[in-house]
Symmetry: C2
Subunit: 81 residues, 2 copies
């Protein structure tokens, strides 16, 4: 089973990386870009795990290892059964 986990900064947290990308795009002429937020994506392959186990494991993994719950939030989805 393949799972995609998206980790992004909470809306209240400043994102200097995203701001730098936005400024670079403006300099290149892409003025329609109003805002950029940067985050991380993890594609995790699980072996011998069914859907209900994945629903237990993935939030644990995301909370303990992949995201910093103080400043980040995560969403996840199964992309391959």
């Amino acid at each position: 089973m393949k799972v995609r986990i998206l980790v992004s900064l909470k809306p209240s947290v400043l994102d200097p990386q995203g701001q730098t990308v936005r400024n670079a795009l403006h300099t290149l002429g892409y003025k329609s870009v109003k805002d950029v937020r940067q985050g991380k994506v993890f594609e995790v392959e699980l072996e011998d795990v069914d859907r209900s186990e994945a629903e237990k494991i993935i939030p644990e993994i995301a909370d303990k290892v992949l995201a910093n719950p103080i400043i980040e939030k995560f969403t996840w989805e199964i992309i391959e059964s």
Copy 2:
């Protein structure tokens, strides 16, 4: 309009960050994790742009600024019209 762009390493490129995460998860007892690949996600807010313009701008932006086309690939989707 809000667009999500996922940038990940091409399958042929080694991912030491992903390997480190996988090893950390194994150490914590998550043995069912077979593989982890790490990438970047960008949420881009576009102003006064319709769908066809977005379809022109986004691949340009991804190719020029967000991804390194030699080692990375990208996918994108509109998440808010």
